[in-house]
Every structure is written in C-alpha cells, then in structure tokens.
Chain length 415, copies 2
C-alpha cells in the first residue's frame, strides 16, 4: 500500500514539502525563507533532517524502501514509518516526558515530523563511550519502560483492546523478522551478514555456534508455541463411529497455545472417566470401560507425541522459522530441542486440561457426562473427585514426567 | 461488518436459499422438491439444519448474533461463522480424514454448508456416557491434533505467514474473550453464570475461590506478558542530557515480551561496561565510570520494578483483564502474583539482554562502544569478556535472584 505518491526527499524538496504542510511550517514560526537543513541520519535505516528557522526547529525523518546502511540490495518496507509514528504517539501519550512529540505523519511519504532534541542532547551510547554520568538516567528510563509496558499490556487493557492492537502490529512483520534474524538466528549460525573482531574472536564465534545449551535457551526466548487451535476441542466437538472420528465446531479458533486443544480433549476424557461411576448399574459396573478411557488418554498423548515429533523430523529442513536447521544443526541438539518442547507442551496440556475440567464443574457450561446422572448426591460425588483431581493436576503438573504417571494417579485415586 | 443482507433462516427460507445456491443444491443432486429438513442444533450457540434429498445430504449451520442457549441477552458476533469456516477449511486441508468438508460459506448470512456426518456418527460425549469403546479414537484424534497444530505453527510456517494469520484471527476476539471468561475467570470467582451441583458442592466451589496456589497457576496459563514494546531499546535509541532522557526510533515496535525492551537496555549498558577498558587511558582509568554504569544497571531494574508494581497497585481495580480483581482478591495473593510475574520478567530480561549482547559481538550490527576501540586486540579482549558473560547469563539466568547478583557477577568477573 501507499507506494503511489511516494518520493524520496532531499534538502530541496523537503523545503517545498514543509511549505505545503501547516503542521510543520507552524513549528518553524512560518519563517521559511531562510531554513537551515542538515541531514544527520547516522543510523542504519533512514534519512533524518534537522530543520531550523530563526524561530523554531523540527526533525523530518523519512523511511526509504530499503535498509540504508546496506543499500537497495536489502529491501525493507517503508511502512515501518507507520509503526514508528503510531508507537511514538502512543508511548508519547503514556510518557510525554521521555518521548519526542510527533507534529506530523504522512503515511504515503513515510515521513514523520517531530521535535528536534536540541543540544546538549546526545545519543546515550556516545555519552557512555565518552564516560559521562547521567544522574537521572535510571529514573527516567525506568519511568519510560514501566509506563509504556504496563499501560499497553493486559495488566491494564481489556482483551478486546489488546487483540485489536496486536492485530495491527502484526503488520510490522518485516521488521519483526529482521529482529528475529539478527538477534535470535544469525549470531548462532554461519551467515554472510555476521561480523566479528577477526581473527581474535574466530574461536569464540565458533564456540557460540557449537554451544547446544546456549542455543536451547535462545530458542525458548524466540519461539512461541502457537498454532491455529480449534479452541473448544472437548468431546462434544467430536463425532465418532467405530472407524471414523470427525472434529467439528471450530468457531472458537484462534492462534493460541497448542496445549489448549490437547488439554481440552484429555481433560474431557478425564471428566468422562470420573462420570462413569454415576452411570454404572447392576448390569454394567463400567470397570472395563474406565480402563478403556484411561488407555485412550494414554494413547492419545503418546500417539500425538509420536506423530507430532515425526512431522517435525520430516519437515525439519522445511520453511518453519522456530528452529532453523542451520542453528539446530546436530542430531543431539535437535533431540534436546524436541524433548524440551514436548515436555513444556505436556505440562501446558495438563494445566489447560485441568482448567477445562474445573470450569465444567463450577462454571457456566456443564457437561452431559455429569448432568445426565440424575441422583444429585451421586453426581456431586463424581464431580468432587474430578474437581479434586483437576486442582491437584493444575498445581502439581510440572511434577508429572509422562502421561503414564497421570493415568496412574487417576487410577490410584479411584481404585 | 456484514450485517446488511443478513436474515435468520428457518426451515422454509432455507429451502429457498439452497435453491438459489448451486454449491449446495448440487450436493442434493438438484432434487429439491422433496427436501427433508430437521433442526438439530443442540449446542449452545447456533442453528443447525440437516437437509436431505433422495440423492444427497448436507448440514447448514447459521450463527445468530447472540448465544443461543442464553438468548438475545448475551450478544455474540455472528462473525464467529467466518472464523469457523476458515478453520474448517484450513484444518480440513491439513487433515481431510477427520474434518468435515465445507461446501459453501456465506459471510453475510453467517452460514456454513458442509458435509452431513451421517449415522452411525454420534457426538463422542454421548458415546462415552453410553460406555461405547472407539478403538481408533486415540489414533484419529492424535492425527488431527498433530497435523493441524504442527502445520499452523512456527515449526512449519515462516514468520510472515504466521503473523498474517495471527492478525486475522485477532478478529475472533469476542469468542476468545468468552473462552477467557468461562474457562480462566468465572470459575475462580463469584459469577452469576456459574452453576454447580448445589448444595453438595457448595464448600468445594468456595474452596476453589480461596485456593491461592490454584489461582496463580491458572493466571499463568491465561496471561501473556505482552505489551507494545519499543523493539530496539538499546543505548543508541536514547538521547540524553544530564537532566533529560528521550527515547527515539521505535520503528521495530510490536506487541511482544516486555523483557525484550528491558533486556535490550540493560544488555547494552553491560556492553558499555565491558567496553570501558578499551577507552581507558593514563588520564582516566574509567574505574569510577564503570561503577556508575553498574549502579545505573542496578537502579534501572530496581526503579523499573518499583514503578511497574506501583502502577499495578494503583490500577489493580482498573480494566486490565490479566488478573481480575474479583479472582486475585486478597492482598496475599496479589503479592504472590506480582512476585511471580516480576521474577519471570526478570529472568526474561536477563535472557533477552544476553541475546542482545551476543548479537552485537558476532552478528551483523555492532556497537560503537566496541567499534571505537581502534586497537583490534584490545577490542577483542573487551568483546570476549562481554561475550563470555552473556553466554553465562543466558544459560544460568534462572539462578539469579535479583539484579544485585547480576551486578556482582559482572564485578567479580572483571575486578
């Protein structure tokens, strides 16, 4: 979008632009005949002009559709200016003392007009190199971080506001990718972009690329175990015959934690288990059926584990960007990554499964498994056992090493 | 959107709709004169019609702008049908054996036409209540979960594909909120929607509402510590004077982990620390300045901690949905929540900080702190010490109890 009408500015055309833009010319006291203009963009990405008149000043910052320091060979959306402007305005609203005011934003031109931070302002890095102390720095920067992070998080925002903003900023994907690449990926693999103080650090750089423990940690920081989940995968969302299984009703679908789906299914099987005593009668004590449910719980996780890791093995050199094959480049490390991922997913599954169980006993929507037990006292006994198990599972989930231990715990509690 | 042209269907108008819709009428062999129609929506939300002709069948499912089982008093976007249709198609493409085929989707009408899962298909929950074993269930459902979760995750997808899809599904916010409310919130507080087998479980339900450990766990499952972060908060993105601090250049902004920003700042201060020896000369050994940097690191975190938790305290009864005041309803629990959150954020900060340090030494973009040390051997010494510290910090970050320990570790390593 917004490429029609875009043109890169220079000192001369910038003056014309300012003259045609009241929100900028007013900041210069409308004294536009003798403007001083200096290009100072020493950063990596953009062109930055300081503009001053006898009675005012401003900065004009324009993004071009490539990374300035590398050149047109590394294209980069100029839409980044939009996300910068939105963030400057949002963070500025939350913390006006430490964010320069935005006077003007032109999305077509990818141009931000903003406050010129006049001397003695210098870039902090330069001050640090020069050995200058800043007595208020910690106070100021902590104020900035505390206010901007708190007020844009779910600690302050409603889910609706938060999701809307998350969706908008998903549009900043090119710069997110760049971050992922240069922070979490390239330094841990051979990449033509990497630089280091050679030859002094040649061995050190190699050691980084060979450090399995380090690579495991960095993957955890980068990766979010999210996928398009069904969102409501309980036993009422599955239709079955003895040889067919059909999953229906994914209207709660979202990109969320995988354990949410697996936990929903397993948790509802556990509910079905605890309800069986309420359905037992003279004719059928349901003992064999309870065993089948437990076996099915165990098999479901074990088969999921097997299938999921097999897919991972098969596609390990595919396009997925969570664990790049050039970083996770030896069988031992790939095994460690998978083990860690699957262990975390297992504990997520138990946690979500427990949450799903609890809400079906004390929340708004109950399950037919229990509701169809007509004797309320009997029903309550079944429900209480399920509730107690779920509470334990939620709180102790990280102590379970595998699904067999979970099934044993259900069995023990219930035998 | 899409409310113009919407009308709720009944048996009669559905026939007219099918006659006008080739993708549906063809599934009925175009034998439309003697259609059998049965409304079977026993679910909570929608209207579901089974339509059959002598030579075919289908299901027509329509979402109305409220929750069916509660009535028009609980409005709910009918756009949910869009997310259901998209997910059915996407999951169906990935796992056609276990997801019913979609024949038709009409966004304006919130209407999905899809395969009728003919008998003996029944809802799994009903089979479980009846005590029926399904020998292939674990095999099938694990196949469904493994394929749909793997192929829509970053394990398989590029960041670009993933972000685009995440943004789209952020639109399903009303149903996500509903999930949050009924799964993670209402069961843990007094809510008019809650139901339980009363009076038998009255005490049990109360115990759930008073179980601090349980509420801590459920919050972790629900909450994501995300906010609108700057995305590139190193010391080159901050302008300073002795009494002013200005944060600039947030073009990498996204909704991401808070520790990413705090870690970027702290990590770059640590880089500045390790570079000082390269800038020391006869006149100034930089010892006092190194102490100031360490103090500033310590103060930055401590002040952030203080300010952030103060904001949290001040707004604890505000609109934020991460920790609802009606659940986290006693001072002791609020303290525990904050301690856990801040501890996790601290360890995130150390991890992200370390990642930011490493990439500045071996990745594409270096920092002037080191680059301005002209003697390459001297520079490499400084860089190696910073690199070794960062590697240790990344791997051992969870062992640090507080920022003082981190500063001590830097000091010890460097004295």
């Amino acid at each position: 979008m917004a490429s029609e009408g875009f043109r890169p500015l220079d000192e001369k055309s910038l003056v014309e632009y300012i003259k045609a833009t009241p929100s900028l010319s007013s900041k210069l006291g409308n004294e536009l005949d003798d403007l001083q203009i200096k290009e100072v963009g020493d950063g990596n990405l953009n062109f930055v002009y300081i503009v001053s008149s006898p009675s005012g000043s401003l900065v004009a910052k324009q993004a071009l559709p490539y990374i300035r320091c590398i050149g047109e060979s590394w294209p980069m959306t100029k839409e980044r200016a939009y996300f910068e402007a939105v963030t400057l305005k949002e963070h500025g609203r939350l913390c006006p003392d430490h964010v320069p005011e935005v006077y003007h934003f032109d999305r077509v031109m990818s141009l931000i007009g903003m406050r010129y931070l006049e001397p003695p302002h210098i870039i902090l890095r330069k001050g640090l190199i020069a050995g200058i102390e800043y007595p208020l720095l910690a106070e100021h920067i902590s104020e900035y971080m505390a206010r901007t992070l708190f007020f844009t998080s779910l600690l302050h925002r409603t889910t609706t506001e938060h999701k809307r903003a998350v969706a908008d900023f998903c549009g900043n994907v090119e710069l997110c990718r760049l971050t992922e690449q240069v922070v979490f990926s390239d330094p841990y693999k051979v990449s033509p972009h990497n630089r280091w103080t050679s030859p002094y650090l040649d061995r050190d750089v190699e050691a980084v690329r060979e450090d399995n423990a380090l690579k495991l940690e960095v993957a955890e920081l980068k990766s979010m175990a999210q996928a398009l989940i069904h969102g409501d995968l309980h036993t009422g969302s599955v239709m079955v015959t003895s040889d067919s299984t059909q999953v229906i009703d994914p209207e709660f679908a979202f990109y969320g934690p995988m354990g949410f789906d697996i936990g929903a299914f397993v948790g509802n099987l556990i509910l079905a288990f605890f309800a069986q005593d309420g359905h037992a009668d003279q004719e059928n004590d349901r003992k064999a059926y309870k065993d089948w449910i437990l076996r099915t719980i165990e098999e479901t996780w074990n088969l999921f584990h097997k299938k999921f890791t097999a897919l991972w093995d098969k596609h390990k050199d595919g396009s997925g960007e969570a664990y790049l094959p050039t970083i996770y480049n030896n069988p031992q490390l790939q095994l460690l990554v998978k083990q860690k991922f699957m262990k975390d997913l297992f504990h997520d599954t138990l946690g979500f499964g427990a949450a799903k169980m609890i809400r079906r006993i004390v929340g708004v929507a109950h399950v037919e498994d229990f509701e169809s037990i007509t004797n309320a006292g009997k029903r309550a006994d079944c429900e209480r056992r399920a509730l107690d198990f779920a509470k334990m599972l939620m709180k102790e989930r990280r102590k379970f090493q595998g699904i067999t231990e979970v099934v044993s715990a259900i069995h023990k509690l219930h035998s």
